[in-house]
């Protein structure tokens, strides 16, 4: 397996977020995880409107406030200050997770430590003996939201594949991921296995396969 970190080709973080945003339909209710997933909100395709849900009780979340305008009681699930857009609403945690568990949120974009060939997701714990286990709302999100998108680098900093046959880290949910956006490719999780929908510019199918720990099929389109 080749180190991808040194590759000049492939998508940047911004491009991964941009690519994921393209697959979210107009008018969707969207929950974005911390990190690269949050950047999706900066790259909404022209002509589309997404409504953002944050599980700590706000639908209609807007961007971060300007410096000095932060309100410690208006924050997102990552506990960062946010704003509201017209048409926003506040609600308590049980109502917020009723939206999630009840299937009312259309798309959730999350980061990942590992995704398996069957769409199992590991993104909450390394399982290390001395780690403080902390799950937050991740298990509720993957169990409740219809489309779970993952944005992640294709391999870890040390070059290990993150898309694997079986997750070795503790699972967040089984068979929950529908699509994976990495710096190298867009990969669909299907009943027939993993299918590469698209390759980043300058990246070959073979390179993607070399950096993936599970079999991939290439979709002819």
């Amino acid at each position: 397996m080749k180190g991808v970190a040194g590759m000049a080709t492939g998508w940047s973080r911004e491009q991964m977020a941009t690519r994921a945003a393209q697959d979210i339909p107009d008018g969707s209710y969207v929950n974005l995880g911390i990190g690269i997933p949050e950047m999706v909100a900066q790259f909404v395709p022209r002509g589309r409107v997404f409504v953002y849900h944050t599980e700590n009780g706000l639908l209609g979340m807007g961007p971060a406030p300007s410096a000095g305008a932060e309100d410690p009681e208006l924050i997102n699930a990552g506990k960062a200050p946010v704003t509201t857009v017209p048409g926003a609403s506040f609600f308590h945690h049980a109502d917020s997770f009723a939206m999630i568990r009840g299937g009312h949120i259309d798309v959730c974009v999350l980061g990942a430590m590992q995704v398996s060939a069957r769409g199992d997701l590991a993104n909450w714990s390394t399982g290390a003996a001395d780690a403080i286990p902390a799950v937050g709302g991740a298990m509720d999100l993957v169990a409740g939201v219809d489309s779970i998108f993952v944005i992640t680098t294709h391999v870890t900093k040390t070059g290990e594949p993150k898309i694997v046959e079986e997750c070795s880290y503790p699972l967040t949910g089984r068979g929950v991921v529908s699509r994976i956006f990495t710096d190298l490719a867009v990969v669909d999780v299907t009943p027939r296995g993993l299918e590469v929908l698209e390759l980043a510019p300058g990246v070959s199918f073979e390179e993607v396969c070399e950096n993936t720990g599970a079999p991939l099929r290439r979709l002819d389109r």
């Binding site: 048409g87 009723a98 009840g102 009312h104």
Partner: protein, 236 residues
């Protein structure tokens, strides 16, 4: 901007098809989406399963929908009214099925449907004839019944104010089942006395967030069931 408004009650209910499960808001006449129900009567869609606390009054609204033979099954807590004989007559004639549910269990089953909770335990109806056939279980030394979620294909709900995105507020005790039914239906259709622009409703005051609403029609002067009944009116 997301705009879920449509022009007429007829257009709002047009996607309701034969055999649908339809939740209908309201407790008595308070919160009854009478214009949406009348549009459904005009449309003539049959073989519906209707979920409402009651079975309507007089010969208008829900009672008229039942009287018109469009409802094959009612799920409700109190199918009796001093003002309507339409449900009792069909029920005694074996022409309509009834699932009787205690009112709090009905509300909670609808909320569970909306919240993705397939089943829960409740103490209501333990030791009564309504517990027959239901699974019992003891928690902390007390007996409870297992109750399942209720979901619907459509919900018809009346609210006071909606913005174009579908954020809703209600009027007094007309709130009742509305917020729950909005959550539990695949397609939620709302008649609003007033439609405003997004942002005009304070985010702190929204009762039903827009994610639960699919279609909104303005009915600025809704009919009042009790007045129609006092006037001896019937629909159609």
């Amino acid at each position: 901007m997301i705009d879920k408004t449509v022009d007429t009650p007829a257009e709002a209910v047009s996607s309701i098809v034969e055999g649908s499960v339809v939740m209908i808001g309201g407790f008595g006449e308070a919160g009854s989406p009478i214009e949406l129900i009348h549009a459904l009567i005009d449309q003539g869609t049959r073989n519906l399963t209707a979920i409402n606390n009651n079975t309507g009054n007089g010969e208008v609204g829900l009672a008229a929908l039942i009287g018109n033979g469009q409802v094959s099954k009612m799920i409700c807590s109190y199918p009796r009214s001093s003002h309507s004989k339409l449900f009792p007559e069909l029920y005694r004639a074996g022409k309509i099925e009834l699932e009787l549910v205690p009112q709090g269990t009905l509300a909670e089953r609808i909320r569970a449907g909306g919240a993705g909770i397939p089943a829960f335990y409740t103490p209501a109806a333990v030791g009564t004839s309504l517990a027959e056939g239901k699974e019992k279980r003891e928690f902390d030394g007390r007996e409870y019944l297992l109750e399942h979620w209720l979901k619907a294909d459509f919900a018809l709900v009346k609210c006071e104010t909606s913005d174009r995105m579908g954020n809703l507020t209600y009027n007094k005790t007309a709130r009742n089942f509305g917020p729950l039914m909005c959550m539990a239906a695949r397609t939620t259709i709302v008649q609003a006395r007033v439609i405003v622009e997004p942002g005009e409703i304070d985010p702190e005051h929204v009762v039903t967030p827009c994610v639960f609403v699919d279609r909104i029609v303005e009915v600025s002067e809704p009919l009042h069931e009790s007045r129609l009944i006092a006037e001896g009116r019937r629909y159609p």
